[in-house]
Symmetry: C2
Subunit: 501 residues, 2 copies
C-alpha cells in the first residue's frame, strides 16, 4: 500500500481536507490499471460472450427501487454509542470484538449477541444503544424542491431489468441472452474502516443472463465443463468445516451442488477472469452463501473470494440466481407485461436470471497485492504485461550528445502508434530501471552511444533484467509482439550482456 | 432519433415507469459507440499528449465545493408559476418565448425581461413569480444522519485540483503537465426539455493543463500552429454580428484573439478530435463567451460548437482559462501550500490552468446526426469505421446445408481475436445487409455455397455495397487491415459482381 500510494496507484480521496472514510482515488497508474481490468472484463463478457452493454443513470427514482426491494431491504443493522453518539455497523463490531460473522442474524439475535459478548463502542468504550435498520442508499432529490426522491443506485442491475423490453427486442427473442453494465455503484456505509475493500462509491461490472427457466443451458457449456472449481459449500460452513469441495464444472451440475449449467459456466468464467488478472488458482475459492447471508432477491449465491495478506479472504464477485424476482416485481409495480415469446420454444416465459456481478476495485487491489514481488535487490509489481499501466519506458542514457533528441523521437513515435509510453531522463540509468520495475513496466528502451552510430536501441525485460538490441525501425513491431506474447524475448533481437547496476 | 431509439443507440431512461426528464440510457449500440468515443479521446489526451488520468469519486463533501465556489455560484435562475406551481429555468422560457439568450443577465434584469416580454407559464399560461437562485447540485448526506453534506460533482475537475500535490510529484515538477478525468457529472436541471442535449447526468472528459503563468508554451505548438480556426469573437456577438474570424492557431495567438499558446493549441486539438468523430469542418466553430456568460472561475472561455439539424448550434466542449482560481481557493480553504518549484525555472509558482472540458453525450449525438445518410434505397449511419459499434456482421446465406455451422465457426473465431462481431441469420440476406447498414456496420461477411466448397467468404463494404471474396484463413487479417485503413477494399480480395437486392 505504501508503494501503491507513493507511486500513484491509489490514495485516499479528499486528502487536503482531511479525507472522508470510504472514498479512494485512482491515481495516474491506478486509473490505467483499472481501465485495463475493465477492458479485460469487456473482452470476456462483451466481445467473447457477446453480451449487450448498456449505460444507464446512476441516479434512480424511488419507484424503481421500491419495486426492486432496495428501499425495504438494502439496510444495515446499525447501533449508536450512548455515550459519544458515534454510529457503527453492528456486524463490523461483532467481527472486530468477538471474531464472529453475524451478517445473517435478525435484529433481536444481534441485540442478544451484542449484550452477551459485551460489545462496546470502539471509540470511547461506551455502552451501545438499540440496534436499528439504516438504509444504505444515498438519497437525493431530482429537480427543485424535494418532491421527487431519487437514490444513487446500489447496483447497476436495475438499469438492465427495467430496460428488459427493449433489450429482448434487440436480442430478437433468442434465449439465453446477456446484458452487462459497467459503472459506479454506491453504498452509504455507516462507518467504513477497511480502506479500499469497503468503499462507499465503487465500480461494478454486472452481467444479467436472461434464460428460459425450463432451459438453463449455456450453448458453449462444453468448453468449460472440465474446469476445476474449489467450492466452499453452505452446509460445510454451517457445520463449521473449513474444507473445500473440488469438482469440475460438469460434476458440480450433475451432483446439484450448483443450481444449473449457466451458474456453473459463469463460476468457471469467473475463475478464468481472475487467473487472467494474475491471481493464482490456490487463493481462489467459491463460497456458497448461507440462506441468512443471501440478498433478498437471490435463491442461491456464490461469492468468488480471493485470499489476501492484508484483508484475509475478500469477496470480489457475487454470482446470484435472481430467479424471476426482478422481472416479476417490475412487471407488478410498473403494470407492464414483461413475459416474452421464446423464439425457439414458441411459448410465453417470464425469464429467470443468473447474475455474475463483479467489483472492479477489489480485484484491482488483489491483482496488485499478488503481483508484488520482493527480490534481494528490488521490490516491484510483476503485473501481467497486458495489465501493466505503462507498457514501455524510454530512457536516454545521457542527457547530452543528441541522446535526448533521439529518445524523444522514439517516444513520440511510439505514442503515435498507441503505446502507453513514459519518458524518463532523471537520475542514473540504474535508478530509472528501478523506478520502472517498481510500477511494473515490462520493457524499457534505452538510447545510448551506439544508437547514434547504428540506429538501434536496447530493450530490457523487467522480469529477467536481460537486454537485447533492436533496430529502431523494428522497435514498434517487436514491442507489440513482445507485449502480445507472440515472440520470445531472447529471440527478438541481438542478446547483449547486462551490466549489473 | 427514431432510428437511434429503435435500433438501440439511445432511449429515455425509466421508460416503464413513465420516464424522468433529463435522463437517457445508452443501449447496446450506444454504449459501444460511447466507449469508442471515450477511447478516441483517451488516444488524444492520455496516449499522445501524455496526460495523467485519474479517477476520483462522484460524491464530493461540501467543503470542497465551497472552496471551488460551486455552493455559491453553480446556480440557475428559476421561476415558479403562481397558478400551477410548475418550476422553470428562466433562460429556457426566455429563449422559447422571446427568442433571446439572457444567460448573462442579473436577476433584476431577468425580472424586467420576463415582465417586459410577457413570458408566461408554458404549461398553464399562468403568471410567473419572482426569480430566485436554485443551486443545481444534487445534494446528499454521507454516512448516517445528515451531519455530513455531500453533493454529486458538477464537474470532474475538482477531483484533479484537490489532488494537485500528489499529481505534481508524479510529474516530477515538470511544467506544463496535464491531468484528465473521464466520468459522470451532474446538474440538477430545473425542468430539462431538450432530450439528450440537456441531461441531469452526463459523461464528461476533462483535461486540466497546469502551467507556469510566466511560460504558457506548449512543447509541440508548432505541430498545430498552421491549423485553421473559425472563431466567433465575443465583441462580434455583443455587436450582433454573425461573422466568424478565420485564422490559423499561430495568428490567433499573435493577434491576441486567444489568451495564450496553450489555449490556442487545445482549440486546434479539439477541432482535430471533432473531425475524427466524422463531424465536418463547416459545422464546427469556436464561440468566445461574453463576460456575463462565463463561469465564476474563468477569465476566458471558448465553446466548441457544432451545428445540428435538430438543436441548432450545440456546445460540445468548453475551453476555459481558469487562471490560478482553483488552486488558490483550495490553498486558502484547506490551509495547504499548493505552490511548487518549477524544475526548469527554479522558482516558486502557483500554477495557472487551461481546461479543455468535453461532454461525451453531445458529441455522440452530433456524430450520429452527421453520419446519418438517406440514399434512394436505404437510410443508414455512415459512421467512421473506427467508431462503428459493430465492426463486422456474420451471415450464413441459408440456414441449412452446413452454412450456420461454418458461420458460427467464423463468428467464434473473430470474437476470440477481439472483433466486435454480430451473428445474424434472420430473414433474407438483403434484409440482413439493410439491418447492418442501418447501424453502420462497415463490413459484412457471408458464408454461402462456395464457402463450403473452397473455404472462402464474401466481404461486403457498407458504403459502396461492393463485394470481394477472401479465404477464411486470411479473413481476420484482411478485416483488421480494412478496419485500420491499411488496405483498399477493392484490392483486398477477388472482386465479385454484386447482385442487387
Amino acid at each position: 500500500m505504501e508503494l501503491a500510494k507513493r507511486r500513484g496507484f491509489i490514495w485516499p480521496s479528499f486528502e487536503i481536507y482531511g479525507g472522508v472514510a470510504g472514498f479512494y482515488d485512482f491515481g495516474p497508474l491506478g486509473a490505467l490499471l483499472k481501465n485495463k481490468i475493465i477492458q479485460k472484463w469487456r473482452e470476456f463478457y462483451v466481445v467473447r460472450e457477446g453480451f449487450f452493454e448498456i449505460d444507464s443513470p446512476s441516479i434512480v427514482p424511488e419507484e424503481v427501487l421500491k419495486a426492486s426491494g432496495h428501499v425495504e431491504h438494502f439496510v444495515d443493522a446499525m447501533v449508536e454509542c450512548q455515550k459519544c453518539g458515534a454510529a457503527f455497523r453492528v456486524a463490523d463490531l461483532a467481527r472486530e470484538q468477538a471474531g464472529k460473522d453475524i451478517e445473517g442474524m435478525t435484529k433481536e439475535e444481534m441485540d442478544r449477541f451484542v449484550k452477551g459478548h459485551k460489545v462496546r463502542c470502539p471509540d470511547c468504550g461506551g455502552e451501545l444503544g438499540k440496534i436499528f435498520d439504516f438504509n444504505a442508499m444515498f438519497r437525493t432529490a431530482i429537480g427543485p424542491g424535494s418532491q421527487r426522491v431519487g437514490y444513487l443506485r446500489p447496483e447497476t442491475a436495475q438499469g438492465i431489468f427495467i430496460d428488459f423490453k427493449r433489450l429482448q427486442r434487440h436480442a430478437r427473442g433468442k434465449l439465453p441472452f446477456g446484458v452487462v453494465q459497467i459503472g459506479k455503484g454506491y453504498r452509504n456505509e455507516i462507518s467504513p474502516r477497511q480502506g479500499i475493500i469497503r468503499l462507499r462509491e465503487f465500480t461494478m461490472a454486472e452481467a444479467e443472463v436472461f434464460f428460459d427457466p425450463g432451459d438453463p443451458h449455456h450453448p458453449r457449456f462444453s468448453e468449460l465443463a472440465g474446469e476445476q472449481l474449489r467450492l466452499w459449500l453452505a452446509k460445510d460452513q454451517e457445520e463449521g468445516k473449513e474444507q473445500l469441495t473440488e469438482v469440475t464444472v460438469e460434476q458440480a451440475v450433475k451432483a446439484k451442488l450448483v443450481c444449473n449449467e449457466l451458474m456453473a459456466y459463469y463460476l468457471a468464467l469467473t475463475k478464468r477472469f481472475l487467473l487472467d488478472l494474475g491471481i493464482p488458482n490456490e487463493v481462489i475459492r467459491f463460497r456458497e452463501q448461507t440462506p441468512g447471508q443471501r440478498a433478498h432477491y437471490s435463491s442461491e449465491t456464490w461469492d468468488a473470494e480471493v485470499l489476501t495478506e492484508r484483508f484475509g479472504w475478500v469477496e470480489i464477485a457475487g454470482l446470484a440466481y435472481r430467479t424471476d424476482y426482478d422481472l416479476s416485481r417490475h412487471a407488478q409495480f410498473s403494470g407492464e407485461d414483461l413475459t416474452i415469446f421464446s423464439a425457439d420454444k414458441k411459448r410465453k416465459v417470464l425469464c429467470h436470471v443468473v447474475e455474475p456481478s463483479y467489483g472492479i476495485d477489489r480485484p484491482l487491489y488483489c491483482a496488485l497485492e499478488h503481483a508484488y514481488v520482493q527480490e534481494k535487490k528490488r521490490k516491484y509489481f510483476r503485473l501481467r504485461k497486458e495489465l501493466a499501466p505503462i507498457e514501455v519506458g524510454i530512457f536516454p542514457l545521457l542527457n547530452r550528445v543528441g541522446m535526448p533528441e533521439k529518445a524523444q523521437e522514439v517516444y513520440g513515435n511510439l505514442k503515435l502508434k498507441g503505446f502507453m509510453a513514459e519518458y524518463d531522463d532523471a537520475g542514473s540509468i540504474g535508478r530509472r530501471y528501478a523506478r520502472a520495475d517498481e510500477i511494473g513496466v515490462p520493457y524499457c528502451v534505452t538510447i545510448d552511444h551506439e544508437t547514434l552510430k547504428q540506429n538501434d536501441v536496447t530493450i530490457r525485460h523487467r522480469d529477467t533484467t536481460k537486454q537485447i538490441r533492436v533496430d529502431i525501425e523494428k522497435l514498434p513491431d517487436v514491442l507489440k509482439k513482445l507485449l502480445n506474447d507472440e515472440i520470445e524475448f531472447d529471440k527478438a533481437g541481438k542478446p547483449i550482456e547486462t551490466t549489473s547496476k
